[in-house]
Amino acid sequence: MLKVGDPMEYTALYREWRPDTFDEVVGQDHVIRILKNQTNSGRISHAYLFCGPRGTGKTSTAKIFGKAINCTDPQDGNPCGVCRVCTTIDSENNMDVIEIDAASNTGVDHIREIRDKIKYPPSVGRYRVYIIDEVHMLSTSAFNAFLKTLEEPPDHIVFILATTEAHKLPSTVLSRCQRYDFRRITLKVIVDRLKSIAKRMGIEVEDEALDTIARWSEGGMRDSISLFDQCISFCGTSIKESDVLAILGTAGNEFLFDVVNNIMKGDISSLLIQIDRLVEEGKDLSVFLKDLINHLRNLLIVDICGDDPSGLLDVSQSTLEEYRRQASNMNQSRLVRSIEILSELDAEIKWNTRPRIMVEMAMVRICRPQDGNSIEDLIDRIAILEKQVSEGIPIARVSDINLSDARRTDEDIAEIIQESTSKKLGFRDLDEIKPSKDEPAEKDKEEHQGKAQKAGKQEEAKKIAKDTNAQEATIEKIDIEEVWDSLLKKIRRERMAIFPLLRSTKLQLDSRNKNIVNLVFPSQQEFYVAAIEKEDNSQYIEGLLLESTGQKFKLKCYTEDNVPNSISKDNILEITDEEAPSEEEEKEDIVQKAIDIFGKEYVEVIDD
C-alpha cells in the first residue's frame, strides 16, 4: 500500500484505485451483470460500444472485460488476476489487450494498420481485444475503413469502442456493436467509494467534505477521486469541509440557502452584505453565480417533481429535505424569472470589468417585484445603491429602509405601477406623487376614485360613439342566398369534408328571431343534419357568416320535412351597418385626393 507523502513513487489516486475486477466497478450494475454473464456463458460478441459521461468506468470495464474473457480461471466472471494470461496482460509486453487512443490516431492509416494486424491469433489467451478509446474522434474515412473490419472480423477478435459521445458515430457502426450505456454515478455511491478509499489510506474526512466533493464531480468517479487527491495534498490526513470549499473557490451550500432565503424575503440589504462577504473572502463571483443558478434550478426541480426527484437531482437525503423546505415558500414563475435574470448575467459577467456591481444589480432586479411600493421608491432605492457603491459606505445602512414589510403579489405591483404612471400623466400635481407606502388607506381610496373616474369617462365616450354611429348608420340589404352560394365555394376550398353535405342545402332567415338562420336540407338527410350540427362544424359556418355579413347568427338545421313555419319568405337580410360605409367613403376620398395630386395613371388601388 502506498502511503501518503511517499515521494518515491507517486501514482495519481484515480489510477491507483482503478478497479481490477467487475465487482469493484461501482454504479453500473446493469452493464456489469450482462458482461459477467457473457463471460460465464461464452457468448462473446465481436464488437462492443461503451458510452457514457466521463469518469463512469468505461475504459476500466473494457480492460477488465478484456482480461476476463481471456482468463483461464475466471472467478464468477471476474478475471482471477493470478493465472498466466492475467499476469501477461497486466505486464508491459502484452500483445492481446491493445488500447488505442482514437483521439490521437484519427486517420484512415491507423485503422488500416489494425486491419492488417487482426488476422494474427492471440499470443496467450483466446481473444485479442482492441480497446478503442474516444472512438468518436475517428475521421469519416477511418470509420468507413473500420466498418469493413467490423463486418467480417476473425473469430478471435473483440473490439471494445469507448466514447463519451455516441451520437457522433455513424449508424452503420452503431448497429454492428452491442451498445452499453454507462450511467452517471450517484452521489451516494461516490461518497461510499471515497469513504472506503479514505479508510484504507488512513485519512480522516468529514462527511460534508465528501458530499461536496461528490457533488462537484457531477457523477464522474475519476473527477471525484482527483479532487480527493488534491484535498489530500492540501490538508494531509484530515480533511474538513471548509478545506474543500477553499480548494474549489466556492461558497458552501449553507451560504446559498441563506442567499435564496434573502431573495425570497426581498431583503436586499442582507444580500448585499453577503455579496460583500464573498468578495472579501476572495471568492469568484462567476462561480457563485453558477452555484446560485444551479441551486435555483434544483429548487424548481424539487417543486415540480415533489416526491421523487431522483435521477434529476443528485443530492443527499438531508440536502433534499432542505431544498423541499425552501421550495415550499417559492412559486415557480418567480424561480424561472430569477434563473433567467441570473443566466443572462452569467453570460455578461465575463465581459464586464465590475462583476460585483452587476451581481448586485441583478439581486435588486430579482427582488423588485416583491418589494416595489411605487416606481418612485425604486428609483430612490437605486439612487441609494449608486451612492453607496461609489462612496463605499458600509452597506448595513440600507436596512434602515424596511423592505420586507411590503410584500405584495405581482398583480398588486402592476396595478400600483400603472396607477402611479397614470397619476403622473393625469394630474401633474407634485403633491400627488408622494410615496404612498405609509398610507395604504389613502392609497386605496385614491385607487377607488381613480377607477370610478375612469369608468365614468369610458361610459361617456361610449355614449358619444353611439350617437355618432346612429347618425351615420345606413341600412344595407343583402340577399342571403347569394351569400350562401359564395360561402359554399369557400367551404369547398377550406373544408372539403363537409362540402358534400351542404351542397344541396338552402339558407333561410327566420322571421321571428333576427339572430337565427335556418339551414334547410333536402328531405331524408337527417344524418347530414346531425353532422353539421356538431359543434365545430356549426361554429365554423357561423364564423363564416359573421365574416361575410358582419352579423352574429345562430345556425339551426332542419330537413325539408320538418321546417318550422317561422322561416322568412323573402331572403333579404337587412344589415344595419355601422362602420363599413364611412370607411369606404374615407378611402374613396383619399384615392380622389391621390389622383388629384399624382394624376390618374400613377394611382393604383390595392386592397389587402
Binding site: I34, T172, R184, I293, R297, I301, L312, A347
Partner: protein, 337 residues
C-alpha cells in the same frame, strides 16, 4: 423478387447468373448472402471458389477476371461485388456502365455474381432495369407487424428464453424495427436475465436504451399532459444517461411541435391520417401518434411552443443560458401555460 422466394431458391440450389441485393434491412440481406455462400460453396474449397471485391475504385478488368475464372473442384464459383458505383445516385464511378452491362449479359454460366449494395440503388440505372427484368433484383425492406414479432420470438427462443407479446412490443417501441439493432438488444437481454427463462418488461427498461425519436415522443406526450415531472425525467435520461447532445434534442422537440401542428391543421380540413401521412411524408404511425398528442394542445399553444423553442435556441447560442437549463425551462413553461 421477394426475399422469401429467394431463400427457397437458395435452399433448392436453383442459383445462377447475376443477383442484386439492396435495401435498408441489413440483417436479412447479410443472412441471405451467408446462406448463398453456404449453399453454393463446399467449405473445403471455399477459398478457391469465392471472391469478394469492394466496389469502390475497382476496374472492369478485375471484375471480368474474377468472374471468368473457372471453378475448381466445384460446379460454380461465387463472386460478391460490394457497393458497386454504377448503382449509386452519384455517377462518380470509375466503371463504364454500358461495358459492365454488356459483360453481365454474356457472363460465364459457371459463375454466380452477387451485387451487394449496403444502401438503396438508383432504380433508373440501366443495369438495375436489366437485372430487375430477369427477376433477380431483391430489395430487403424492414419487416413489421406480425412478421416482426414472429422473428423476435424465434430469435429469443433460439437462445432458450421466452418473451411475452407486450415485451416484444416494448422493445420495438424503444428502438424501432431494424433487425440488426433488435438482434443486438436480444443478445444483451439474454445475457442480462442469466438463468431466468423469461424476458420481462422490467429487464427491457433496464437494458434497452430508447432511441432519441422515441424519447422525444414521450417528452412531448408528457408536456401535452402537463406532467412536467415526467417530462423532466425523460429529458434528464436523454442528457445524463444517453449522453445525447442538447441541440438535436431541442431540434427534435421543435420538429415534434411542428409535425403536430401540421397534422392538426390538415385534420381540421378533413383529411384522414393516411392522407396526412403521404402529404407530410411521415410514417402513418407517426401521424396517428401526433394526432392523438395534438388533442392535448391548442393551435395557439403549439405556436407558442415553437416560438419558445426558437427563443431558447437563440439564448443558448448567444450564451445567455446554459443549454440543459434552457431545455428544462421550456418544459416548465409549456407545462405552466
Amino acid at each position: 423478387m421477394d426475399y422469401r422466394k429467394l431463400f427457397r431458391e437458395i435452399n433448392q440450389g436453383q442459383w445462377q447468373g447475376v443477383y442484386l441485393f439492396f435495401g435498408e434491412e441489413q440483417y436479412i440481406k447479410q443472412q441471405a448472402l451467408d446462406q448463398a455462400i453456404d449453399a453454393l460453396l463446399d467449405p473445403s474449397f471455399k477459398e478457391l471458389n469465392y471472391d469478394q471485391i469492394e466496389g469502390a475504385n475497382v476496374d472492369l478488368d478485375t471484375i471480368i477476371n474474377a468472374c471468368e475464372t473457372l471453378p475448381f473442384m466445384s460446379e460454380r464459383r461465387l463472386v460478391v461485388l460490394k457497393d458497386l458505383s454504377v448503382f449509386g445516385g452519384k455517377s462518380d464511378g470509375d466503371i463504364d456502365e454500358d461495358g459492365f452491362l454488356e459483360y453481365i449479359k454474356k457472363m460465364s454460366d459457371t459463375t454466380c455474381l452477387i451485387l451487394y449494395c449496403r444502401d438503396g440503388v438508383d432504380k433508373r440505372k440501366k443495369v438495375y432495369r436489366y437485372i430487375n427484368k430477369t427477376g433477380r433484383a431483391i430489395e430487403f425492406k424492414h419487416i413489421s407487424g406480425r412478421e416482426l414479432y414472429k422473428w423476435i420470438n424465434q430469435k429469443v427462443e433460439e437462445q432458450g428464453k421466452n418473451i411475452s407479446y407486450e415485451a416484444m412490443g416494448h422493445i420495438v417501441d424503444r428502438i424501432g424495427n431494424k433487425l440488426e439493432d433488435i438482434s443486438n438488444e436480444i443478445k444483451k437481454l439474454v445475457s442480462y436475465v442469466g438463468k431466468r427463462d423469461k424476458i420481462d418488461i422490467q429487464d427491457i427498461d433496464e437494458v434497452v436504451v430508447p432511441t432519441l425519436e422515441e424519447s422525444i415522443f414521450q417528452l412531448v406526450d408528457a408536456i401535452g399532459e402537463k406532467k412536467s415531472n415526467r417530462a423532466l425525467v425523460v429529458l434528464g435520461n436523454l442528457i445524463y444517461e444517453g449522453g445525447q447532445a442538447t441541440p438535436p434534442i431541442l431540434a427534435m422537440i421543435a420538429r415534434q411541435f411542428r409535425i403536430i401542428l401540421q397534422c392538426k391543421g390538415l385534420h381540421e380540413k378533413g383529411y384522414n391520417s393516411a392522407t396526412i401521412a403521404t402529404k407530410l411524408k411521415q410514417r402513418p404511425f407517426v401521424v396517428r401518434k401526433c394526432l392523438s398528442q395534438g388533442r392535448n394542445f391548442t393551435v395557439e399553444q403549439l405556436k407558442e411552443g415553437l416560438e419558445l423553442c426558437l427563443k431558447v435556441d437563440y439564448h443558448i447560442k448567444v450564451g445567455k443560458i446554459q443549454d440543459t437549463l434552457g431545455l428544462e425551462l421550456i418544459i416548465v413553461k409549456m407545462c405552466n401555460q
